[in-house]
């Protein structure tokens, strides 16, 4: 009897460890970031410049970092969404079993490449390519980062979208065919609309992956804290800022607290994306 109880307890604690850790992380972030809100106050975060090391005046405006992350993520989604959705449709609906057996493992392989390796590839191969393609002075730009992130987001989005398309009841397809619709009509007017919530959720999770990615963007985006919407300009993302500067700051300084605020913003964004994705799935009955 007590064995049952002990086992139950053990498994319950194992299952709740991650919840406990997330709560701890959140408390830690808030605790470290909080003093900044009192002095110099939260409006300092809305400055348009991020100059953490200065002899004149340190400035901790996270706006350029937020726009940097937004620009890179937006650009990368511009490539990711059509590529992944079309790819998922092909794998789920059109590909022969042999093709599927070949395509799927390779897509999964793409997911397992470490991001530092991809970053290195971006620095040595992609950046010079972008440079000569657009006649730029250097290939270290938002676009280069976005292309790399596309490589990272594709496996996530393609796999989840494929699942969504696969889960559309076969009866829909048969009914559409029986009404005389062609393959293309069936795919775009019946299957895609039916799978749309799942595809949207997949995209949301892909965005979450891209926003949180660090190493690859740190290596290829040029890291200038500029407020810009030009894809060819260098940008500094929130993640890259934390990664590059956290090692150097002295504990408890304003710079340190500002970095924790960036962490909080990142956490909030990814949290929100995940919640939206879950909501969409639950709302349309694709997840119980």
């Amino acid at each position: 009897m007590w064995k049952d109880k002990a086992m139950r307890l053990l498994m319950l604690s194992a299952a709740s460890t991650s919840i406990f850790l997330v709560a701890l992380i959140f408390i830690f972030l808030v605790k470290e970031a909080a003093p900044f809100a009192l002095k110099p106050g939260l409006d300092a975060l809305f400055d348009r410049q991020w100059i953490p090391v200065s002899f004149v005046q340190e400035r901790y405006g996270i706006l350029p970092l937020v726009t940097g992350s937004a620009l890179v993520t937006g650009l990368s989604m511009l490539f990711t969404i059509p590529l992944s959705v079309l790819g998922a449709i092909y794998i789920a609906e059109i590909a022969s079993p042999v093709e599927r057996e070949i395509l799927k493992p390779f897509i999964e392989l793409l997911a397992s490449i470490p991001s530092v390796v991809l970053g290195f590839f971006g620095l040595v191969v992609l950046a010079p390519l972008i440079k000569s393609l657009f006649g730029l002075g250097t290939g270290l730009s938002a676009l280069t980062g976005a292309l790399l992130l596309t490589l990272m987001a594709i496996p996530t989005v393609i796999t989840l979208s494929e699942d969504a398309i696969m889960s559309v009841p076969r009866a829909y397809k048969d009914a559409s065919r029986a009404l005389g619709a062609s393959d293309l009509q069936t795919i775009f007017q019946v299957i895609i609309p039916a799978a749309l919530p799942g595809i949207i959720a997949a995209i949301m999770l892909g965005v979450g992956r891209v926003v949180g990615e660090t190493m690859a963007v740190l290596m290829v985006t040029g890291n200038s804290a500029l407020m810009t919407w030009s894809p060819l300009a260098p940008v500094r993302t929130m993640t890259a800022t934390i990664a590059a500067e956290m090692g150097e700051v002295s504990f408890g300084s304003l710079h340190y607290q500002a970095l924790f605020w960036i962490g909080l913003v990142l956490l909030a964004v990814t949290f929100l994306l995940n919640i939206i994705a879950q909501r969409v799935l639950v709302r349309y009955g694709m997840m119980k």
Partner: protein, 293 residues
């Protein structure tokens, strides 16, 4: 009912876990500070990693029982580590600043400074760039973003691409203080992680300009071009080299430091003494830096 009790048990379990982990954390730092073993850790400047690891190798060869670990991360990282008691020696390519000194005083750390070598910062451009010399004033204007095209210095019609180290680097702060005269870098400056990324970018981008340690510039002589620097507009341009840096003719040069916590281990002191000895200074020259003696 049962689930509530289970929950409270879990809470107690985690509290205990937390307690234990806090305790062991405290003990760890205590042992590393007392330095009961003969192990020394050196942390700090990326510029100096090459030098400190050469020192460490030679020193461990002479003292087989000594264990020295060398890590980079930037001068700021090293100083923070020394203040937090997680390293014995901090290698820094800049002097410790006022705020850090205050923090050290608060934590009752007795900082001892040793100038162990000198380093010249070479200004490097792409070999295709026809500019061969720049004055300190021109350098300042390039890096704060006032000049944006090489034409303004009689060079080719190319936009200037300003490259810099990340702000955690001692080189970043030194360059800002001595060349930029404490002004901020242009926001368009691309901040790259590490010297090799800088050299790589300058080698491939025609309009790029960057600053790197002399040792690195000499190593990359085949792919990048060093620029002579004039201390004033009417002075002669000086190329960085052993002689010009030691004699103080080359304007963009700096001392390199080791910092220790004065009351800490005698092993650390012995190592610093070795660095300052004749054998240690010979290594300085061999690794491409300039000896202080």
């Amino acid at each position: 009912m049962i689930s509530k009790r289970i929950f409270s048990w879990i809470a107690v379990f985690f509290l205990l876990l937390l307690q234990v982990s806090c305790d062991s954390g405290g003990k760890d730092s205590a042992t590393s500070q007392s330095g009961s073993q003969k192990s020394i850790s050196i942390k700090g400047s990326d510029t100096m990693v090459h030098l400190t690891s050469s020192w460490a190798e030679q020193y461990m060869g002479q003292h087989p029982d000594a264990q020295i670990s060398v890590t980079g991360g930037g001068s700021g990282t090293g100083i923070a580590a020394l203040l937090n008691g997680t390293t014995d020696i901090c290698a820094s390519s800049r002097e410790i600043q006022g705020k850090e000194k205050e923090l050290a005083a608060q934590k009752k750390i007795d900082l001892v400074e040793y100038a162990v070598a000198r380093d010249g910062l070479a200004i490097i451009v792409n070999p295709a760039n026809s500019v061969t010399e720049l004055s300190m004033e021109q350098l300042r204007k390039i890096f704060i973003g006032e000049y944006t095209n090489w034409q303004e210095m009689g060079g080719p019609d190319l936009p200037i691409i300003v490259l810099s180290r990340e702000s955690s680097s001692g080189t970043f702060v030194f360059f800002q203080e001595h060349v930029l005269k404490k002004a901020d870098y242009t926001p368009k400056a691309r901040l790259l992680a590490g010297t090799s990324a800088l050299v790589q970018s300058v080698a491939s981008d025609k309009g790029a300009i960057a600053y790197v340690g002399l040792a690195f510039a000499l190593e990359a002589k085949a792919t990048v071009k060093m620029v002579g620097v004039k201390s004033a507009d009417d002075a002669a341009a000086v190329l960085p080299s052993d002689e010009t840096v030691r004699a103080g003719h080359y304007p963009v040069a700096r001392p390199l430091y080791l910092y220790t916590n004065g009351t800490s281990s005698p092993e650390a002191k012995a190592f610093v003494d070795f660095c300052l000895s004749e054998a240690g200074q010979k290594i300085v020259t061999e690794t491409g830096y300039i000896s202080v003696k």
